[in-house]
Symmetry: C2
Subunit: 466 residues, 2 copies
């Protein structure tokens, strides 16, 4: 199968299609100078290794080692449980769900082939955690603990608990059931690796959680799930070529960032991310995190208070046509909608011709399910255009690791580039620190005593509790 | 176990806690007159049967019949597949997921007790549909086709396809595998019931999809999943008492609507719905639909063009602290955050005291997982308050059918009441018609020819495709 490119179609974001709400060519041209500047800044930073996510598609040796380990583990284990949260979970979830779908883990072993069941455990709800435990034979379960800092309270709580259960249930051999993915040198988890001799993988320094899907953080779980991670990287390398072009008009990643930025400037503070694919929906959730944490910032690079960033909303076609579309069509003109359209589905489901005598359904019988889905996507986009609601399409040729690699990498570059347009640092997340410190204060973390006092007392004004 | 009420705590929406961004008591008092008027309007409409969702909690005989049927079916089937979309799917999903969690279907039969595996099939992605089929032994599978009109293109396509597969796989007995939930009199599905003799349930006239969770639409799948639907209705009746109070200051449903309305008027066009429970997250998705379709409207009741409605965004605590929180803390001041806090989890997971010698994790060892989750929720709410981001809490005593019934009904009344505040009709959805007609036009539906011409040609300006 020859490969096609993941493409961006922004016709319905332009004033040729939406005279009032669309962008003019001039508006985009107005960004060309700053785009060149941002491009050169990114290139300069790349060259001195300051944006290491750009290197991940080229870590083929590391990928080979991950594959070898995955093959070894497949001999003795049936389940992989990922303990991670945020960027340590969403990438693997996006890749594995997109390629396997939501029902893979329900297949009987003989239908799963060499793919392991992967469970992503990215929350600390004790009821949900207990329910997961009810399923697992620990003797056949491998745990991949993922935390760059080794300090994430959720992951470390899960791990401390699961470690004890492992010791109780599998005995002396328990260390063989643990794989750690963390910083090469620093942190609690790296220290534990040294002490206990766990197998471990390294997260390259400077690769933040939300840009880590193509590092061992995302690749090892994907490999365990049977994903061809070399194809994933190969697709990402293709995207890197396309997304390295200086010319905004040729670069789909830069142009996506530019359109999202200009729409925000036109008071579209809501960014709807809407894949027309049940299986690829978690990609929208992954991009929600990538975009929100990277662009949602209080201070600009110049230190001015800007409180900027569009709010991503994940929606799923066709089903959210029956949920959110009414609001998108008729509510405030505060949205820009980005569709993710799969050009070729794998399965062909023709609707049977013999339909019912009553009713008006016989027209369905000459179509496939794919054709109906695509007609709905096209009609929805057209109806939104008629209502003056701008949109664009990301076109994904096939649901393959190669195309997924392209897509993920393009969205990462778009986000990094958008940092330049919004004039914020896309690689930090200073806003979550206060909450973490207050949590530490409430739980008695040493050195965090003062933050406890910042948390308001539990006592509430009872007039406002009904 | 004695029951407590689901409550609303709106302290952190008030200016006593957030001097600049909060609401004053006077602002709420300013709504008292209109609130009384809306209340009286709702009561008058209820009395003449114009808002039939209010009656659903009292349909105890209908619930009994559903239970009896569910008990019969459990003798011969292991799986229920719901074919439905939007309001025909989200309610059952919210109830079943909240009570069973995301991993229930993976349990071996002996651990599932008398609960059936329920699969909600609310999309037409052919790859996902095929993956589901790979799992199912049709001989042990019951299909519940749900469409009020009998005209939903997605559900009818699924049904036409599944019906043929059923005939192929189970033979003469196929009709026994189908249960139809639809209008009592009208539509394709009702006609098929008459023709084929399927077992059927009735959706009471005037109950729209998004208000149907307590009708057979939600109750039958819930009963099959082993949910105590009588308790669900009992909780809803308790909420009906609380939500029938004229005084805004005593009525949690009205006050929730008032706070959401006033926040929208203060330019918070984004409404974040954030349960701190992995299992109850689908309730946020259900409320997203309820709110978006009910309030997102172009025209006011007076016929003025208003383009109103806040945009709901579903987020999940604690995990989305590692995804969306950065934006909520530091991005634009365009959000009101509604937390859904569970007061008592079912499972107790103490973190083992014996932690590691290295590092700084020993403070975790004196807590339970529930305590950590709650500390994070409290710290997040406090940090948002410090950043001037208003929020409120819906407090849910326990993850039981009774409390879930309370919660769902309160949110339904809040939405109906909010229609009055926003001055829109909360029970229609005129904005989705154009897209449906265009879809019909594209697929050759009789009478829809003209709409095909409204869809722009596939040819795009190639400058805008990169």
């Amino acid at each position: 199968m020859s490969h096609s490119d993941v493409r961006l179609d922004f016709n319905f974001a332009m004033d040729l299609s939406l005279p009032e709400e669309g962008l003019s060519v001039k508006e985009i041209e107005g960004l060309e100078a700053i785009a060149r500047e941002i491009h050169r800044g990114l290139v300069a930073m790349k060259e001195v290794g300051q944006i290491p996510f750009y290197q991940l598609p080229y870590q083929e040796e590391s990928a080979l080692r991950l594959l070898q380990k995955a093959n070894e583990y497949r001999e003795s284990f049936e389940n992989l449980v990922v303990l991670g949260i945020g960027g340590s979970a969403l990438g693997a979830k996006a890749v594995i769900s997109s390629l396997q779908g939501p029902t893979f883990n329900l297949l009987p072993p003989e239908k799963r082939g060499r793919a392991m069941r992967v469970f992503i455990c990215d929350n600390i709800d004790p009821d949900a955690l207990s329910a997961l435990l009810d399923l697992l034979d620990f003797k056949k379960t491998l745990f991949n603990v993922i935390s760059k800092s080794g300090d994430s309270i959720e992951t470390m709580s899960q791990f401390t608990w699961m470690r004890q259960l492992l010791i109780d249930r599998v005995g002396a051999d328990w260390r063989r059931h643990i794989v750690v993915t963390t910083d090469p040198v620093k942190g609690n988890l790296r220290a534990m690796v040294a002490e206990e001799g766990f197998v471990s993988f390294e997260i390259p320094p400077g690769v933040g959680g939300r840009f880590s899907v193509l590092s061992p953080v995302g690749l090892f779980p994907a490999a365990m799930a049977g994903v061809d991670i070399q194809e994933l990287l190969s697709g990402a390398r293709r995207a890197d070529v396309r997304a390295a072009q200086e010319d905004l008009w040729l670069n789909p990643a830069y142009m996506l960032a530019a359109v999202q930025y200009l729409m925000f400037k036109k008071k579209k503070n809501v960014l709807v991310l809407m894949p027309y694919s049940e299986m690829m929906f978690p990609i929208a959730e992954w991009y929600c995190q990538l975009w929100a944490e990277s662009i949602g910032k209080r201070f600009s690079l110049k230190g001015e208070e800007v409180n900027t960033g569009s709010t991503p909303v994940a929606a799923c076609g066709v089903k959210d046509q029956h949920s959110q579309l009414q609001l998108y069509m008729e509510g405030p003109r505060d949205k820009f909608i980005l569709f993710f359209l799969l050009e070729h589905f794998q399965k062909n489901i023709p609707i049977p011709k013999e339909t019912f005598e009553q009713g008006n359904l016989s027209y369905l019988g000459s179509h496939t399910m794919e054709a109906i889905l695509k007609a709905e996507a096209q009609a929805t986009e057209a109806a939104l255009r008629d209502a003056g609601r701008p949109s664009s399409r990301v076109l994904i040729p096939r649901r393959t690791p190669y195309d997924l690699g392209q897509l993920l990498f393009l969205l990462e570059v778009a986000t990094a580039f958008a940092g330049g347009l919004f004039e914020v640092n896309p690689f930090d997340q200073p806003g979550v620190e206060l909450g973490k410190k207050m949590t530490g204060g409430l739980l008695g973390r040493p050195g965090h005593e003062a933050f406890k006092d910042l948390v308001p007392p539990k006592k509430r004004n009872e007039q406002f509790v009904i």
